[in-house]
Amino acid sequence: MDNKLLEIKDLYVNVGEKEILKGVNLSVGSNETHVLMGPNGTGKSTLGYAICGNPKYEITGGDIIFDGESIKDMAVNERAKKGIFLSFQNPLEVPGVTLSAFIRSSLEQKTGQRMKLWDFKKKLKETMSLLSMDESYAERDLNVGFSGGEKKKAEILQLLMLEPKLAILDETDSGLDVDAVRTVSNGIKIFKERCEGSLLIITHSTKILEALTVDKTHIMHEGVIVKEGDASLVDEINESGFEDLNN
């Protein structure tokens, strides 16, 4: 058996009555960084949600193998516990639940035990400083009143604290200014170094990739992967766009 962390086999996904993914094949090895590109509305986010297990995205065919096991019928939280993390494009605001309490609860679910408060706070503080996040955010309600940039940083903070095996970043860089992209990109790099995790990055821009070594690039169009290549494909797409995909 080869070193495949995630293996998507001929995956078909419906949202309501509409078929969005029409036979996607894609695999990601351990400690690899993959980029997923493609025009808007082509099914990239759908793939992210399907891997993560959003119940609105119905798998009608194919399979998702993670860490040697089919996860397609597994509950969302079980998948998360196995080590899948999705960074949301629009993270939800949850009034009344602090960022710190949320992360601590998530960690507890994953490890089965409650981390000592002191150890937790220390780690949280360290990680926040790596992301140039003001400490006060820890005690603020989750994403409530956060700017677009702060929300994305809060997602990366969760990524670093939860240490998953696979992180899917869904346009984590969209709508961010140059500094914020740099911080987020740096955070992702730390994730790679610290956890040796794999990455599937859904993006439109190259900025977020600058600090990373991309192993493979996948291009999606109308619900299928139409082209695959190495890091150079990213540059190619950025120069000539997706126009010749239709051929």
Binding site: N77, F88, Q109
Partner: protein, 335 residues
């Protein structure tokens, strides 16, 4: 064609109380259909026991800034009726904290008068293991005065009879004069056989008066809750704005929730809004929690806690914050 019962199930909680030893409280200013049993609440109240009053008058003098802790609603039980009158004079600023942790049935009345430019913040923790509390707050607001009310209810366990406390809360705020304002934040956690019956009436008399109402709660087990919220724009209250929002998280299989969000209006130039959302944890929130490995039960627990914990951020008093945290810990067994 068989007859269909179109009435709410088991409609007896309110109607079981009839006769002479019954107090009628929490009446809505505008009635609706009687079969809904929301027009008022009837409390069984032992009329044989003698009324023992404890009255108190607190005056905050002009330009003074104070913090007052009223704790004898908790500890002494030589009375079954407590009245507190508060006079906040011009330009005064006061925070009043009261913790109603009752051991016997109690009626508590608070009358608050705000003079010009006065600022009053009242924080009330209403708590009862198995007794009934009727808590009334009546407020009148002069020009440019501002009243803020923070109320929390958490059930309390006490022996085998725990979580059967009944809370009747009646809040009447008169925004009498121009530019006065009122902010209300309420959070509750009902469980066991808790019965929570809230009535809120905000009367906008003055011009450019403002009210903002946020009610958040969670109901577990067999708990029952009624919230009647009335915003009344009286003639002459032009330029006034009123907004009310209620969120109810339904967690128990046998819970009962009644919500009556009323707007009365006799003035053209006003703006009033109401929103209510009742149900289980919404799919989007649940998915976000689950994507971080938190299962449904845990997510519900976190959100139930959040409906009350939200209030901690609105309270400055460290003691009060601690009481909320401690009670939540006892009740939800978290942290």
């Amino acid at each position: 064609m068989t007859n269909i019962n179109i009435l709410p199930d088991n409609e007896n909680v309110y109607n079981e109380h009839n006769g002479s030893d019954v107090l009628t409280v929490n009446a809505m200013p505008s009635k609706t259909w009687h079969w809904l049993s929301v027009n008022e609440a009837r409390i069984k109240w032992d009329s044989n026991s003698e009324e023992k009053y404890a009255d108190e008058l607190i005056v905050i003098s002009e330009n003074n800034k104070e913090e007052i802790w009223i704790d004898d609603i908790t500890t002494q039980n030589e009375y079954n009726s407590k009245k507190v009158k508060i006079e906040a004079k011009e330009n005064s600023e006061v925070t009043i904290v009261s913790n109603h942790d009752i051991k016997n049935n109690l009626r508590a009345f608070m009358d608050i008068n705000l003079s010009k430019n006065a600022k009053v913040k009242l924080v009330q923790l209403l708590s009862s293991a198995d007794k009934a509390l009727y808590n009334e707050v009546k407020v009148s607001c002069d020009e440019k005065s501002s009243f803020e009310l923070v109320q929390a209810f958490m059930g309390k366990k006490q022996g085998d009879t725990g979580y059967s406390g009944k809370i009747y809360s009646n809040v009447i705020v008169n925004l009498d004069k121009d530019n006065s304002e009122f902010k209300y934040d309420m959070g509750y956690l009902g469980q066991g056989d808790n019965l929570l019956d809230y009535n809120l009436v905000v009367n906008h008399f003055g011009k450019n008066t403002n009210c903002e109402i946020n009610v958040n709660g969670a109901l577990k087990d067999k708990s029952q809750k009624t919230f009647r919220g009335t915003i009344d724009f009286k003639k002459g209250s032009s330029g006034s704005v009123g907004a009310e929002n209620e969120t109810v998280l339904m967690l128990g299989d046998d819970v009962v929730n009644k919500t009556v969000p009323v707007i009365l209006c006799s003035e053209e130039e006003v703006s009033g809004t109401h929103g209510a959302s009742i149900g289980e944890l919404d799919e989007e929130t649940l998915f976000y929690f689950e994507s971080r490995g938190i299962d449904k039960e845990k997510a519900e627990n976190i959100m139930a806690r959040a409906s009350v914990e939200r209030l901690v951020g609105l309270i400055e008093n460290a003691n009060e914050k601690e009481i909320i945290e401690k009670t939540l810990q006892e009740v939800l067994g978290d942290d």
